[in-house]
Every structure is written in C-alpha cells, then in structure tokens.
Amino acid sequence: MIFARAERRTLDIAGALALGGVLAFVGVATAVLLGHAGSGSGAGAGAGAPLFDAYILRVARFTFLQAALSTLLSVALAIPVARALARQRAFLGRVWILRLSAVPLGLPALVAALGIIEIWGRQGVVNDLLRLAGLQNPVSVYGLTGILIAHVFFNLPLAVRFLVAALERIPAEYWLSSANLGMGGGAVFRLIEWPVIRRVLPGIAGLVFMLCATSFTLVLTLGGGPAATTIEVAIYQALRFDFDPARAVLLAFLQIAVTGLLLFVLSLFGRPQDEGVTAGRAIRRFDGRRRRVTDGLVILAFTLFTAAPLLATLVSGLAADFGRLALDPTLHRALLTSLAISLASASLSLAIALPVVLVPQLAESGAAGPARLIMAGVLPAVGSLILLVPPVVVATGWFLMLRLFGETGRFAPAIVTVINALMALPFVVRVLGPAYRTHLARTARLALSLGITGRRRLVTIDWPALKKPFLTAFAFAMALSLGDLGAVAIFGAEGFVTLPWLLYSRMASYRTADAAGIALILGVLCLLLTLPSTAPDRAPERPGPDA
C-alpha cells in the first residue's frame, strides 16, 4: 500500500477526469468530422476512393519501414552515448550537451530540414569536406538516408536525455560496490546498466517510433520524391486538397491501429523490476576514469552530429536584421501569444500526466478493483497514442463544432492549448513515469507510515525529489508547443499569431532572413527553457537520512 485512502480517492477521480477529458476532446472532433462527411460535401476528386487501395498500402508500408529504421538507429546509438555521458559526470560542457537535447523539439520541421541540409546537403559541410578529400560528385542524402539523418537528429538527443536520466537514478551504492568488486565494463553493463535501460527502452522506442511515423515535412522534403510518403501526408491530402474528412479520420484510425499494435508488442519487453535502495549519497563513477578517451570521442561525435545543424540555424539566424525585428509589433504579439500558449499547455499537460503516471502505480500496489485496473491499463495507452491523432484532424473537428457557437477565432487559443498539451503528454509521461516509480518505491511506505499524505506529501516529500523531472517535463512540453504550427493554421489568423505561424508566413513571402531570425529566437527560447531543469545540484540529489 503506497497511497492513503484519501489519496486513492483523489487519484481515482483525477484519473477518470483525465481519461474522460482526453477521450471526449478527441472523440467529439472525430465524430463531428465523420458526421460532416455524410452531408455530401465531399465533392473533391478523392471522395469515395476505397481506403485500402494500392496507394495507401504502399504509403503505410513506407511509413512503418522508415519509422522502424529511424527508431532502431536513434535508440541503438543512444545507448553508448548515454552510457558515456552517465559515466563522465565531469565532462566539459556536459550540462550544455544535455540542454541542447530539447532544442530540436522546438524547431519547426522546415527550419530543422534547412539546418540539416546545410550540413548534409549537396552544398553542405560534409560534401565540402569530401570534395577537399578529392571526391568529385557530391553525395546526395535525398531519399531514405536523408529521412533517417533527420529523424536521428530529432530523436537521438531525446533518447539520450531519457536514458541518462534513467542511468542517473541508479543508486550510488551500486557504483561503489561494482568498483569494490572490480567489475569490468561488460559486467557493469550486463548487471547494472542494462536492466535499467531495458526498463525504459520500450517507452522511449515507442515515443520515437510515433514521432517518426507521423513525420510529414521532413519525409517529403528530404525523401527525394513521392516514393517517400507517410500516412500523415495522405491524411493532410484528404483533408485539404480532396476535402474528404471521413477518409482523413479513417486514415488516422489506420495509423493508430497499426502503431498501437507495435507499441503493445514493445511494452511486453519492458518488465518493471525492483528498485534499489539508496541513502542518497552523491553518485561517483569509478569506472569513468579508465574510459575517458573513448567516452570523450563518443560524446564528441554525438555533440557534433546534434549541434552542427543547430549551429547552421544559428549562423543563418544571425544574418537577420534584429534591430528591425526587435521593434516589430507583430513579432511581439506572436512571442507573447506563443509563450502564453506554451505555458498554459505545459501546465495542462503536467496536470493530465499526473494521474496517467500515478493510477498505474496505484493499481500495481495491490489496491485495485476491476475499474481501477482497467483505468490503469487504458490511461497510459491513451496518453501515448494521442500523438498519433493528427492535430489537423482534431482542430478541424473542433472548428466545425465551435462554428455552431459563433466566432470560431475566439476559441482558437483554447483549442490550440489543449491540442499542444495532449501532444506533449507522451513526453511528459515518459519523463515523470520512471522517476515517480523510483521515487515512490523509495519513499512511499515511509511517508505513509509517518502519516505524511496528500498535499503535505506532495510539497515536502515529492517535490524536492522530483523537481528536476517535473521541470524537465515542463521544458519538453513548452518546447514542443512553441515549435508547433499545426492547429493554428486551421483557425486562420484573425489576430491569433504564433511564432511558427509568423515564421512560415515570412518564409512564404520571400522573407527568408526574417524567418531565420525567428527560428533563432525559437531555438534560444527552447535552450533557456532547459536551464531550470539542468541547474547544477547544490544539495545531494535525494535528501535521504544522512542529508
């Protein structure tokens, strides 16, 4: 038993609210869209096309092929990098390397694609180096290679960040013992690191897979031709050019069904294991000294790969006329709107994530009736799969719905906020979930036996220990929302302008330098967001009995 009776009741209610709220929000939108299709307005040329034609099958096959490869690469590369970063705790600039990992999240795909091209493109840095080395023709990345590079660029840092966090939750005592026992690298990996990695890996792989499966701009732009098309493109096409909302919804269902199946299989590999006990002493990695050079090289390679496109974005951003941009009232308004939306959506996302994380814990702790068990099973699934519901589908559904209540523009900020909060949910849950599990295993029984429950427990026991995961989750959610164009486009401007919207609009009217400047602002904002969650520790990480 790890929760008091009152806490259990609160969690039940919160869980039901979160589940009901999320399902209702998405359900209403899809129902309205499906209903709208019946009104005979599907006059587009694509209307009435069978859902599973050869085209869709080919597109679905490619979607899963590229997503699977991207996931495999991102996750496989993340393991050595995360191990190296976890071992070398005093590596120069280590905290900045970790901070960089949130930046790609906040960059619109168009910006990232251009940054990647400056490094890997035909006229990019890599080809320049190859030319210096005497190669005649430029190496072209357009095709599956380009897609994989882009997806690894986005997701490798994410996976590394999650893995490092998991490795840092290993009790300091383990490292002490392993050093005492004279364990070699192989034994440390097998006995200490792998069990921890294995537990979080399915969650990370699932998240990366969903992000890659729903990729759109990157896949088309770097894919070299229409052979590289994802289901997301078909959904967009159905909703915009062909105006066939029902088809869009059905395609979204297809995307959810197939990916959901894959996530289910993945989840079978992640067995929860016992949590180690720790007195909360500071972690010292005795095995780091021997491997300083190899670890350094791994970290360096990772940093180069991640930072180079960001650096390219920075350089083109610096060419912008910031004197003029600083005085641009539209930019001010977009900045304020974006910040307000992302703050609100990150807060909402965290609020929904808490029951998603805690109800399964509650069910596992033994105090579960059938209702609670079902909720514990469904909540995390809903929390993950929401990423597969295309925001454009939800936004269009709500647009239709809200039209009945008059001025749709008024509701736009609220809808965008909720959509962004739901998009961030899988990230937030993956940051908070493992951290909370470890924390509860270490403190819950003691807190309960001391009668520290409810709000007091949250403030005195949970918050000090979980501050970092909370701040990390908040930063991820905000970055994601800052960089999202998605839903704004449906509602139209009407005075509602966000930074990505402004960026795209400047880009669309030849104002490339302005767009690059706005991209730089977005990148810097995302970097700033990570500062609180990665601030160096002043006190030991977890106040234990000796703290």
Partner: protein
C-alpha cells in the same frame, strides 16, 4: 497550479482579444494570410477602400488558397465571408460546386489577363506565370524550353513542389500535361533524373534553392522582381521557355450569403480598378490583372513575358486532377 492556469488564461484572452466594436457597415473578406501581412496589399487596400465606402473591412486570413476553399466547405452556408479573395483558377470549379458563390454581374474594362480568362462568378485581380527560377551564378546555361529542362544534364538539379499538397506543384503538373499531352509520363520519367527532391510546399522548395542546394526551383516569373527591388540582388532569374508558360490567375468572388451585396460588388469593382491594381505588384509580387496608375517598376519590365500562355479550364482540371496525379505518382515513385 489553478491560480497559475487562470492567470494564464486571462493573459491569453487579453493578448488575442479582437476589438469587436460595432461599426456602420462591415465587409468581411476571406483571403490568404500573406495578403493581409503588414507588407502585403491588405493594409493599403483596407485603408483606401474604407475611405470611399463608409464601411469597415474585416480580414480573415488563412494559410493559402487551398485552405481558403477548405474553410468555405467547412463553414458552408454559415460562412461570414462577403467576399472571398485568393482562390486560383484551378480551384474555381470546386468553389462553384459548393453553391456558395453568386454571379458578380460586373463587366470591368481593362482587364488584361493573358489567356483571356473570364468568368461569370469570379474576377481576376492578379496573375503570375509558373517558371523555373535559376541561380545565374551557378547555372551558366539555363534551359530555354520545357524540353530542355526535361532532357538536360541530370547533374544540374531542380527542386519542385508536390502536386498533392501545393498549388505550384499542381501548376507544373498541368504545364507538363499541356505541353506533352499523353506523353507526359515519359517526360516525367526523364525529368525525374533532375529532380533533387519534391517538397510539400513552395516555402521548402524556395528555401532549399536560396540555400544553394539546387540551381533551379519551380516558382514564378515574378520571383526575380522581389530580389531585385527588395534585396537589390540580380542573381536569381526566371528561364523563358519557348513552348510557353502555364499561368496562375488569382480571383475573387462574392458569396450568396453576403450581408450587403452592393458593398461586396463595390469592393470587386474597386479591386479591378487602378487604385487596387497599383498596390499589387510590389506587395503581392504578382502581375496586376488590370491597369495601374503608373507604369510598372523597371524590375517588372525586365521579367520574362511568356509569348504563349497555357491555361486549362477549371472543369477540365477538376475532372482529371486525380487521374493525372496518380499518373505522376506512378512515374515518380518507381525506383
């Protein structure tokens, strides 16, 4: 948490609140976003028209012309639009099929759109020809015909847009179809070797082009004018093709549900007149459809002026779009 949330929501409401004071008469114009951006034609158009109409112009801006049509389909009869400005000729058939538009009943003089477009429901306000824009510093022998482009050196690349998701992409598809007819798949088969990549929209393609990734991009004959006038940069030029160029004509029309149809017609009349037309070239970077007060800037005179213009009827495009895109997909997706 709760107080934080409510503060945020209030802040949000304040920064996006639209002043909704009731004016005398209001004309609601749906258009695409870049038309009403501060550098676009919108602000000047609004200022000038409001002086003469004793009304207030309200803009609603969506992402682009296609989104405009989607928006109307979503809203149906309930639309607030009095005038819809920014559809192109390829969207006209579908726009009419919604039954939301009313014949304009106007016969403006001096409209000089190549290809002789005229329609009882929609009036043109500007146009541009699709063109291959190239970087004159890296491409010394630009193609002089579509045939040249199709059969040229595969090492010299072009970035094009996807006809499934963008209007320029559809434009190139129709252009190739107009020139090659039934032989279009064979032409695409050859052109494919020169295509670096196919982007979802114009912005991605033009971004890659200006980054120097490819020496050619599918854009408009008017693109170089922006670089010359706004950036004093003569580097980017449009290639004149001997077969002729496909045209994109942007049009506007009034809705059946317009509150004040006389006012809407007054706006359409103003739109085809010299005051509106003079604003277009240097704000929308397209060719004006009617007479301007002064001659066009020199940079526009220097632009490619296609001798032959291709334009398929909206009905033909609507009837064949899916089949032609499938044909294109089959060729372009093959290994």
């Amino acid at each position: 948490m709760r107080t934080l949330l409510s503060t945020l929501v209030t802040a949000l409401a304040v920064c996006v609140a639209v002043p909704a004071s009731a004016q005398e008469k209001t004309l609601t114009v749906y258009t695409y976003e870049s038309f009403i951006a501060e550098w676009g034609p919108g602000p000047k158009v609004k200022e000038e028209f409001e002086k003469t109409c004793g009304c207030k112009v309200e803009w609603v801006g969506v992402a682009d012309g296609v989104e405009l049509l989607t928006r109307l389909k979503l809203e149906g009869e309930g639309t607030k639009a009095d005038v819809v400005l920014g559809l192109d000729t390829n969207l006209i058939a579908e726009a009419k099929a919604t039954g939301l538009f009313e014949a304009h009943g106007l016969s403006p003089k001096d409209l000089t759109v190549p290809g002789g477009f005229s329609d009882d429901t929609f009036l043109p306000y500007d146009y541009g020809h699709f063109a291959v824009v190239y970087d004159s510093e890296t491409l010394k022998n630009p193609p002089t015909s579509l045939k040249d482009l199709v059969e040229g050196d595969p090492a010299e690349k072009i970035v094009i847009e996807d006809p499934r998701t963008s209007t320029p992409g559809l434009g190139l598809l129709l252009w190739v179809k107009s020139v090659y007819g039934d032989k279009a798949p064979e032409a695409w088969e050859k052109l494919k070797r020169r295509v670096l990549t196919v982007t979802p929209g114009w912005s991605e393609a033009y971004g890659l082009f200006t980054k120097g990734e490819a020496p050619m991009v599918l854009s408009y004959t008017t693109s170089p004018a922006y670089h010359v006038i706004a950036e004093k940069n003569e580097r980017y030029k449009a290639a004149a093709f001997s077969e002729g160029h496909y045209i994109q004509i942007e049009v506007a029309g009034l809705t059946r549900t317009a509150g004040d149809k006389a006012l809407a017609r007054q706006f359409l009349t103003y739109m085809t007149g010299p005051d509106f037309q003079s604003i277009i070239p240097e704000t929308n970077w397209m060719m004006p459809a009617g007479k301007t007060r002064d001659p066009l800037p020199a940079a526009f005179d220097a632009l490619v002026k296609p001798e032959k213009t291709f334009l398929m009827s909206p009905e033909e495009v609507a009837a064949n779009r899916k089949a032609w895109i499938d044909e294109w997909l089959a060729v372009m997706s093959a290994k």
